[in-house]
Structures are given as structure tokens and as C-alpha cells.
């Protein structure tokens, strides 16, 4: 419908030759008198098949007929019923996105707003891309135990589904993928059953390791994991450890270095570590920015200067990382692009262009050197940046 002109709604009611359809004497209560292809057909003087053809952009039609139908659709303000479409064709033009509720990520914490950022940005990117391709995006948040409910909803409402990392137990993925085109977001990329979209964790971690060793001369390190079972965290940790080992440095191995990806978790970890040993490694590399922020807070709280006493780095490049002091050296990850890429791939799978499970797609990342690693922060000030932004 065209929402720019309310008056036509009246027209629709007057003209509607509703129930002209031959085989019906509507027995059900119908909430709103919705216009159907029968109405359009009878107004245009054609069959419903013809209306359907117009609706689906069937090419081999007499242009005049098409015009007629289009006009009738406009006049009656016809909006196709997607349930009927979905039922008949099996295609719903809806994609699902399964993510973790914030309480599931960090229960009990008042609010850690930035935690929302990753998922939100992905959702935004996905929605934008989906709507470009004519799909709608259905949200499926999962908390403690809602997983199977949510998955069922996806099955019954969507043509395909994007599963964010850790929303669904690994072993369930093949089952899901068997039933519905599935794309994994930020998973480990090892699933044979579904395509994975993720960022490059290898190159930037090696680069970062090299930078810390060659440029700043550090040799003792710790890696603050997010959640050890998270593929991203694991990959970042592994690549960092490997490279440091290759360069002859040492990385602590204590299991205490785990933050739940949160600021508060990182603070708690540092506290715990300090109870065991007052000394600190020369540099702490974190699996994400939020924990890096926590590490910096906690270190400074206990009298360590960053980066003079201990260098700290993050991963993500959330906006906060530019604003804290010291500004955070980190790895820029294209949040929205991840969502977009996932939808792109999923749409192509749904449309049969590519088949499910075909490998993984890796998006590039970039190391951003700011001051928390010991570099001079050469980025523009916020004001300058914003001003330039205005042209």
C-alpha cells in the first residue's frame, strides 16, 4: 500500500467486490476485511492466476493485462498475505537471526551496555542487507533454556537462519542445518554442515604479537580470554600464543585469565591474579575491548600505569576504545559487515545459487595502534574527527 494517501482506504472499501469468488461463503470471523487476489482479479476482470503472475513478476504476459491488474491492486490497496504465500510456495521471505539475550551473556550484572554492541551491530547489518534483498529479519533471542522453542519458531517462520556463536550447542547444528539453510556467525568455521562467516583472527593476532615484541620489546605476556569455549576467543589466543612462542616470548598459562568477555569479568580476573602474584606481565592481550577496559581499570586501581608498567590491547574497536585514557590499541572488526555477509550468503543459499555447508567466509580485520600498547596515539582528537565528519 502507499501510505501517502489515507483517503484511498475508503475507495478500497467501496469498490471491493469481496466474496465474488465462486466457491466461498465465508464462515470464519475475519478481523479485517483484507483484500485478496480474488478481489483484485474480479476488479481487473481476469483470473486469480493472472493476478498471481503479476505478483510474481511473470514475464510472458500481455502488458495491457498486467497494467489492468496493477491498477486494480493499487485501487484496492492490495497487500498479499504472506502466510498464504508461504504455505503455498514454501518461501516466506523471512530470515531468522538467533542471538544470546544479554542476561544470558552476563547474568546478574546491572547493565553492561557495551556488551550489546556486537550483537546489535550484527543485527543492524543483517537487517539492512536482508531488506535490500527483499527479506525480513526475524529475531530469536535465546536465554537460559529457550533454545528449542526459538529454533522451532525459526523452522516455522523462516526460509533460513543465522546462528550467532554459542547460541546453540554444536552438536545440534547439523540437525538444524538439515532442515533449514543455516549460516553460522563467528563460529569456529569447522562445521561441515553449515557455512561459517567469521573474522580473521589469525593475521591480526600475529601482527600484534610481532608489534609487541619487535617495536616495544616486551617478552612476558598474558592472554585474557573471553570465554575459552568461544571459537573466536580460542582462535585469538592460539594464534597469539603460537606467534609469541615462535618469537621466543612467554605467555602465562594460568586458567585465571578469562573474562566472560565483560569488563567486570576482566576486573575480577585481574583481582584474582593479583592475589596470587603482585607482579604483572609486560603486556596483556585481551580477546575483546570490553575486557581490555576492565584490565586497564583494574591495573590503574592497583597502581600500575598503562602502558608504562603494563601494556594492554583489545579486540573489536568499539567506540569506547577511542575515548578511554589511554586510548586502546586493538583490532578493528567489521561488525555490521558480518551481519551483511551472513545474510548475503544465506540469501544465496535460500535461492539455490550456492549450496549449504560450503566452506567459510572470512572477513578482514585491521590492527589499530593507539596508546595502550606504548605507541603514541596519532589518531585525530574526537572533536577534529567529528568536525571533519561534517565536511
Amino acid at each position: 500500500m502507499t501510505i501517502d494517501d489515507d483517503s484511498q482506504i475508503a475507495v478500497a472499501k467501496d469498490i471491493s467486490t469481496k466474496s465474488n469468488r465462486s466457491h466461498v461463503t465465508s464462515p470464519q470471523l475475519i478481523a479485517s476485511p483484507n483484500v485478496t487476489i480474488y478481489d483484485v482479479a474480479s476488479r481487473a476482470g481476469v483470473s486469480i492466476a493472472t493476478v498471481s503472475r503479476v505478483l510474481n513478476g511473470y514475464s510472458q504476459m500481455k502488458p495491457a493485462t498486467r497494467e489492468l491488474v496493477v491498477a486494480a491492486m493499487r485501487d484496492l490497496r492490495f497487500v498479499p498475505n504472506n502466510s498464504a504465500r508461504g504455505l503455498s510456495s514454501g518461501t516466506k521471505m523471512v530470515l531468522g537471526m538467533v542471538f544470546l539475550h544479554s542476561e544470558a551473556i552476563d547474568p546478574g550484572l546491572e547493565v553492561e551496555e557495551d556488551t550489546l554492541l556486537f550483537t546489535d551491530a550484527v543485527i543492524r547489518g543483517a537487517e539492512e542487507e536482508a531488506s535490500k534483498s527483499g527479506y525480513a529479519l526475524l529475531l530469536g533471542g535465546v536465554g537460559k533454556a529457550r533454545v528449542s522453542e526459538t529454533i522451532d519458531r525459526m523452522f516455522s517462520n523462516c526460509d533460513g537462519v543465522i546462528l550467532l556463536d554459542r547460541t546453540v550447542p554444536d552438536r545440534a547444528i547439523p540437525t538444524i542445518a538439515k532442515r533449514l539453510p543455516t549460516v553460522l556467525l563467528a563460529g569456529n568455521g569447522k562445521s561441515r554442515s553449515a557455512t561459517t562467516i567469521r573474522v580473521d583472527n589469525e593475521e591480526p593476532m600475529k601482527k600484534l604479537a610481532n608489534h609487541l615484541v619487535s617495536v616495544h620489546g616486551y617478552s612476558s605476556f598474558a592472554f585474557m580470554a573471553g570465554i575459552r569455549t568461544s571459537p573466536d576467543s580460542a582462535a585469538r589466543e592460539m594464534n597469539f600464543r603460537e606467534e609469541i612462542a615462535r618469537l621466543g616470548g612467554r605467555v602465562e598459562t594460568d586458567s585465571i585469565w578469562e573474562s566472560s568477555y565483560t569488563t567486570s569479568g576482566a576486573i575480577a580476573a585481574i583481582e584474582a591474579r593479583l592475589k596470587m602474584d603482585r607482579s604483572m606481565p609486560e603486556a596483556i592481550v585481551c580477546a575483546n575491548d570490553q575486557s581490555a577496559v576492565g584490565v586497564i581499570y583494574a591495573l590503574e586501581h592497583h597502581g600500575f600505569r598503562v602502558p608504562q608498567d603494563v601494556a594492554v590491547t583489545g579486540f573489536d574497536d568499539i567506540s569506547l576504545s577511542r575515548r578511554i585514557t589511554p586510548s586502546l590499541t586493538t583490532v578493528r572488526q567489521p561488525f555490521q559487515e558480518l551481519g551483511k555477509a551472513a545474510v548475503e550468503v544465506l540469501v544465496r543459499i535460500c535461492q539455490g545459487e550456492i549450496k549449504s555447508g560450503s566452506g567459510s567466509r572470512v572477513l578482514p580485520t585491521k590492527v589499530i595502534y593507539r596508546s595502550s600498547c606504548g605507541c603514541a596515539d596519532v589518531s585525530e582528537s574526537s572533536v577534529e574527527k567529528f568536525m571533519r565528519g561534517r565536511g
Copy 2:
């Protein structure tokens, strides 16, 4: 389906007595061999009507029969087809949320991530509440000109829709509301056709005005609007102006005080203002936190100290407002609650408990005094706060 056990999918395939249904010789290509109520019915030895009754929690059934059906559903891993349900019953168990794409809010700007916050938090709150009520949430982002496409998608996929402020021209709302239960979020509350959920802009703005005058003794002010046509911005401005007038203060009236709700917009506005007149009012009250941040940046960039030379306040209480220096005096707005409340109301409208258009619901807000207005910031440090958060 229960996703905890992949093996049963095999069972489903073996047992399925598909196409037992009397009246069918499936002519269409069916992508996946989905289990239907026919399969369940034949496996349980009952009619499809009985299966449907179980599905809908019909109470007057022999428990034994119910058991039988439930077992069959479990065994076959039956998931009801929502398109069919929607077609037959007209109820889709899907709610729509229409919001503005970020590019529509602030085109051309690189990324102003915090801009996302309001909408994202609302979406999260809405999704959580929706899923509690058994509904799914469908996203409908609108950019430049996608409005009517998106609205159509809502019509054809949803039982009801939440319209965020400024997503749809005012005059189109009655048309939409006539066709679909509609709730307005952060609108002006004046629509007769749809219920509005919004926050209280009156009490906190009056309180703030009083605070600035009585506690700090300011008498010259400016109000940095977001977008003048935005009901929230307008309400905040009006209430502030009224109260200041009552108290005998002055508020500038130049139209230059408008930020587009963004940091960069606020900076640009301050720059423009400075070109006209080097002096500044004693206090600048902003329609949201993002613009307050821009105001502070720009003022300090030009040698003004905040709050000593100029006091600044915001609205929203985004996490950044606690972290900047000086910390921002602002009004806390319950983002997620807004989403929740909107869904709550919408669900009740959809279920016929209350009728559409019945008044508006106003959520409370709270003034948070920090240092940018001249108060001493008594809030805990970040570290302390985070630590306490851990218990």
C-alpha cells in the same frame, strides 16, 4: 523439536507415514519432508482435528488421547507450520518493529555508534518481552524511501506493529492502525488512532530547570534541540522553556540550536553559534546525551571550561555519559522498558484484552546529577561500581 538429540531425526524419517492423508497426491516439489499434522494423526491413530486440538491446548479431551498425540509429535519431531496456522487462523504470533536505519538518522557520517543505542535497546527489550509472550519480533528498518514496502511487509507478516518515532509520516498512522493493531513508541502521544508509549519529559525537565536555577543560580540558557519535529525533543524543549520562564530566566531562541540528535550535529551547531557571538549562555540543556557530548567537546575545543564557564546537561543516560569528563548530568530514560512496555500493550491489543488507540502510557524518568551541571559527581568510580557488580 528438541535439539538435544540429533539421532531422532532419523527416527522421524523412518516412521513417517507421509502422504497417508486421503486426498493427496503431492504434485509440488517439496524441499524438505516436513512432518505435518497428518503424519502425527496417522501415527497416533486419531484425526487431524484431534492433533490440532492438542496443539491449541483444547481442554475437553480424554487425557489418554492427548498423551498419544503428544507422543507422536515427539517421535516425529513435529513442528507446526506457522504459515498454515496464520492463514487459517489469521494469527501469526509475530509482532513487527519499525525503526529508522542509521543512515536515515545521520547520513554521510562515518559511524556514530552510540546513535544506535536507543533503537537497539528498545529492540532488545521488545524482543525479550515478545518472546516471553510467545511472539516473535520481526524487524522492519526504514531508510529514505522504503517506508511503504516495510509497512506492507508488516501487514502481511505480523499481528501487530510497533512504530518508532519518525519512521512513518503522522498522517499515515491512522491508515496503518486501521489495518493492524499499532503502538507508537516515543511519539507525541496525541494520536487518537494508536496507543503511544513514551517517557515522561515533563517532570524531569522542570526539575532540571529548577535545579539549574535554584542550586547553581544560572539565569541564561540555551536548549539544544534534537530534531525540532521530534515529539520528544519538542516536549523536552517546551517543558524546559516554560519552567525557566516561570522562574524568570532567559532561553535563547535562535534556530541554530539543533543537533540532529548527534554529537557531530551538536558540534556544528556550537561552531555556528560561536561565529555569531563569542559569548555563551551559562547553561546549555540538550535533548539527548549524544549532543551534550558534542557540546562539551566543542566548548572545550574553544577554550570554555565545563561546567565552570558553561554548564551542560543531556538526556538518556547512555553509558558514555558516566565515562566522559566531566561526567554528564542527564535524565535517565528506561530504554529497554520502553520496548517491553510497547510489546506488552501490543500483545494485549492483539489478544483483544484492550482496544487500540486507548490513550498513552508514560514511563517515569529520573534526573541524574553528575558534574557537568556544576554538581560534585558523587557516583562511584567505574572500578568500584564494576567490583560491586561482581558481588
